[in-house]
Symmetry: C2
Subunit: 282 residues, 2 copies
């Protein structure tokens, strides 16, 4: 559930938050977002998330007339008001109120919403998740745009397959899941696509954790490699480091989470658990 929101700086309960209907994000899809969270009451890498948010805006051509500090100040105000130890922040930026139905405004609309962190059953981490594949490439893969129509149209197919997400591939190469990145282990080599993806913050952290332990390759990944891999996992803000044990109904290796994946999950959990001690109080 959503708790509080700030609409262009004005704070109110999220269920009271409204925007005018000539918002160009609503009428023309000209909008982007980002999504981050706290661990142990501390923001997790919020500077990196805000950098990405600003970069998406630059790539899409939406003005970003805010300092990241000012955006963070709003987020922190909302966090304090929400009064829950761990929450997520949804940041949405649109091209503003269009004067003619198609031209962006000079001033964007900035929405910030505090939400409960989605619950993930603990056994998902110990048993792994099932996913399906779909031939698709996002229009603007480097931008965290609001276009999730493909995922939404696939939702019943995902559910019918007993899966929880979808892995996109195109021209024989895999790219990313609908809202998270993809990694494979071939032996001690960790492999992840580097092109045509949204570069996740959890992906970045995972690569940092892995680079001193494993050989790391950021490169194009063929669909066939999924079936040759010893381990497959995904990284994301809510999924953290999540083993993938079945793809399109076929088990990956022995169908159980791999030990390297679980090691990286353990390192990730250690890092987030230590946040309260290591990061400055917000």
């Amino acid at each position: 559930m959503a708790h509080f929101c700030a609409i262009n700086g004005e704070i109110m309960p999220a269920d009271k938050g409204q925007i005018f209907i000539n918002d160009i994000g609503l009428l023309r899809g000209y909008g982007l977002f980002d999504y981050c969270r706290t661990y142990g009451g501390r923001p997790f890498m919020h500077d990196l998330y805000l950098q990405r948010f600003e970069r998406s805006a630059a790539l899409m051509g939406i003005p970003f007339p805010f300092s990241k500090d000012a955006v963070w100040q709003q987020m922190d105000d909302l966090y304090q008001r929400t009064g829950i130890r761990d929450i997520s922040f949804r940041l949405v930026l649109t091209g503003g109120y269009t004067p003619d139905g198609v031209t962006p405004a000079e001033t964007p609309n900035l929405l910030i919403i505090t939400e409960d962190i989605p619950y993930i059953a603990p056994e998902k981490f110990t048993q792994g998740i099932h996913i399906i594949t779909d031939e698709y490439l996002r229009e603007l893969p480097e931008i965290k745009s609001t276009n999730y129509v493909r995922l939404i149209m696939l939702r019943n197919q995902i559910k019918a397959a007993g899966a929880v997400d979808v892995l996109f591939h195109k021209d024989g190469l895999v790219s990313e899941l609908s809202r998270s990145n993809l990694f494979l282990f071939h032996g001690n080599t960790l492999v992840t696509p580097e092109a045509n993806i949204l570069k996740g913050i959890t992906r970045h952290v995972t690569l940092q954790l892995a680079k001193d332990i494993y050989k790391v390759e950021e490169r194009p990944v063929a669909v066939e490699e999924l079936w040759q891999a010893d381990e497959v996992f995904t990284t994301g803000t809510t999924k953290r480091v999540m083993p993938i044990t079945t793809i399109d109904g076929k088990p990956i290796a022995n169908g159980k989470p791999g030990r390297h994946t679980l090691r990286l999950l353990g390192l990730f959990n250690e890092m987030t658990a230590s946040l309260a001690a290591t990061l400055p109080v917000s």
Copy 2:
């Protein structure tokens, strides 16, 4: 400018119209629209536009729990209140208020807005327009989705070229302009793409007007055919039948509107001028 709106049936001045921020059209781009107009105070083909609107909803999986008559009744209420002889209607349908940020609601959100018809200088019809091309194919070309990010990102490039719109092509085939359909004349043969396009109502009417006069071919159209064509034009709800005289800075044939195009424009104008006499009063 926008005049009045109906938000899920509630009528108000358009500048007071707001939706809650958990609308999934805003947050996830899960929305579609349609756009029609009146001529001489009479609705133009509104039954065909409403059919298309309903079809887009079916293709995108958004519920459409309304009769087309009930939607038209709301449009007519708004029209009467607007008190202007000729207006346009923007119909927007989104997947409703999402409970979790990604799942559509059971009930969609329906917005209807009355707007001024965009002004097009009369000399555009007698001199033709300039357009540019762009390699792109809409993700869901048969659906009038709200995704116009590509057009919006190209807007400065279009303007810098002295053009007014963009023609999309992919894999050597042209499809459509950003908001209108494409036609070519090779001699007395009228050619228009039939796949990977949004099938326009004005396109449909133009084909009806043309079929007794010209040979008509609905088929794939190669980019090279643009340079071999005797005439090129576009059809749309606001552009009607609009000659295209320059593409990417290169003139089509002698760079002047062609006589067949102007004949079809004349027939179209005759038809819309006779609407007041031929269609039932709304």
